[in-house]
């Protein structure tokens, strides 16, 4: 059975029926999926979830749609890795990595896309589309191929080659737009009004899409033995993921699936695009849009749709925020790889470098149980590493040459 009730404007509270609608008709505020939590009690349980599939769909009672046949690529239930070496390096007692590099197309976006396109089919929408900084493009293209849907993927033309290739290989239309992500996003917001039988996953079906990120909270809690962590570090692009992780933890508490406790939520951004971190650090109560300039392209959203809510969530949970330079994020990628054997894309480098800063500043306490969300695979952004990586030595093809090297 479905526990979904309606859509509701987060700003003014106006209710709407379940449909392909993302903004309030009155105040333009974002629409949020509302559930009937009272009816879930006694039905949604730990054991019911544990007996479900090893994918995000084990939490389908808390999602706005059911898994659609022949669409899902087995997304989610990615490993929660204990990171003792990195913890020791940072002086933390208990650190975990939520390793979303392992999703079907290598990022957390498979979670939101699987939910969005399942819902899109349920709503009768015909074409899968999105504006994307790359990871979303990869995921929409793959899921559309699997579902047999036509796809239109809009990306900034300066995107990493790997992310263009990983979108194009699935056969959909990949439209490179001469502009930055915010311009691509604005274009798609206007196109969504023209093509109302298309599912722009992060535009007209965004309320459902965003719900997919709650599974990042559900899985962490379940994998910690149905406990909430003390502190999580989440990268911020639009801010949607961070606010939905918060919603996910709250839902688990509300349903009695975990003991009540406050999770502090901290945000990670790159200095070249840090409107939320800047607002947090300066004490502002508004988000000032910026023109992005960072190699962390998957986080390069200068005018984040949920930026204000991310800021509010960080503040009300007692979290913090950090902004790191491109050099620091590249160091972060290396640190994570060398200490834990996990290869993250640039966004993961931002998360790790921010974790380092937050520990050093005291914002993260050494005795907290900390989870860092590693949301994308390093194979996608290899070009960002440039000449930082290469052979450590080059030798002649002889035993002597190698033995000589060892003696040096």
């Amino acid at each position: 059975m479905s526990f979904v009730e309606s859509l509701c404007c987060r700003e003014c509270g106006k209710a709407y029926p379940i449909s392909a609608l993302n903004a309030c008709e009155f105040c333009f505020g974002p629409l949020e999926v509302i559930y009937d939590y009272d009816s879930m009690k006694g039905i949604v349980s730990r054991s019911k979830i544990e007996s479900g599939p090893q994918t995000i769909w084990r939490y389908s009672d808390l999602l706005p749609t059911k898994a659609s046949p022949n669409l899902d690529l087995s997304t989610g239930f990615t490993p929660l890795l204990r990171a003792d070496h990195l913890a020791a390096e940072l002086g933390l007692n208990s650190l975990y990595l939520k390793d979303d590099t392992r999703n079907p197309t290598g990022s957390f976006k498979d979670r939101v896309v699987s939910v969005a396109l399942s819902k899109a089919r349920e709503l009768g929408l015909k074409v899968a589309a999105c504006p994307s900084t790359g990871n979303l493009a990869n995921s929409v293209a793959a899921h559309a191929a699997r579902a047999g849907m036509e796809a239109y993927i809009f990306v900034p033309s300066n995107l990493e080659h790997n992310k263009i290739a990983m979108s194009a290989i699935f056969g959909g239309h990949v439209i490179a737009v001469d502009g930055n992500y915010d311009q691509v996003n604005r274009l798609c917001a206007e196109l969504a009004m023209l093509h109302d039988d298309w599912a722009f996953v992060n535009v007209n079906v965004r309320p459902y899409y965003a719900e997919g990120s709650k599974t990042l909270a559900f899985e962490v809690a379940e994998q910690l033995g149905w406990q909430l962590p003390d502190h999580v570090v989440v990268p911020i692009a639009s801010g949607s993921q961070l606010t939905k992780i918060y919603k996910g933890f709250n839902e688990l508490t509300r349903l009695g699936l975990v003991p009540e406790s406050q999770v502090r939520i901290s945000g990670a951004q790159a200095q070249g695009c840090s409107p939320v971190a800047e607002a947090f650090l300066s004490g502002a109560d508004y988000i000032k849009p910026v023109k992005p300039d960072t190699i962390a392209k998957s986080l390069a959203i200068g005018n984040p749709a949920d930026g204000w809510y991310a800021l509010e969530t960080i503040r009300k949970t007692g979290g913090s925020a950090a902004a790191v330079s491109d050099d620091e994020l590249l160091e972060g990628i290396g640190l994570l790889a060398k200490t834990e054997g996990v290869f993250a894309e640039t966004a993961g480098g931002v998360t790790i470098a921010s974790l380092v800063k937050l520990v050093n500043s005291g914002a993260i306490k050494r005795d907290e149980t900390v989870v860092a969300y590693i949301t994308g695979n390093g194979l996608k952004t290899i070009e960002a590493l440039g000449d930082r990586v290469g052979p450590t030595n080059t030798i002649a093809p002889s035993v002597d040459a190698f033995e000589e090297l060892l003696r040096l």
Binding site: A23, C24, E25, F28, R186, F200, R206, S238, K291, W308
Partner: protein
């Protein structure tokens, strides 16, 4: 010379279903005030009680977000178009 304003779906019930409106105005604020005269009710949908642009409304002068220009006081030159676009998208 009047300015063409692109109207989002959310506001078309006020413009008789039209996706574009044509009004005079030397600044974005004047354009919005004149829109309100032609289509009563549209002003409060775009501006909050203090007269500021609502948080989830983006207004573009040609291709630039007016928040990067001079906000509501941004000057509108003859022939330039404005687009009103819901901000809740992307990510």
């Amino acid at each position: 010379m009047p300015t063409t304003v692109r109207i989002p779906t959310q506001l078309r019930s006020l413009t008789g279903g039209n996706s574009e409106a044509t009004v005079e105005g030397a600044t974005v604020k004047e354009v919005i005030n004149n829109l309100e005269k032609d289509y009563p009710g549209i002003g409060e949908r775009l501006l909050d009680e203090s007269g500021n642009l609502r948080r989830f409304v983006n207004v573009y002068l040609v291709d630039e977000d007016i928040r990067f220009l001079n906000g509501l006081n941004t000057e509108v030159s003859p022939g330039q178009s404005l687009s009103i676009v819901p901000a809740v998208a992307g990510g």
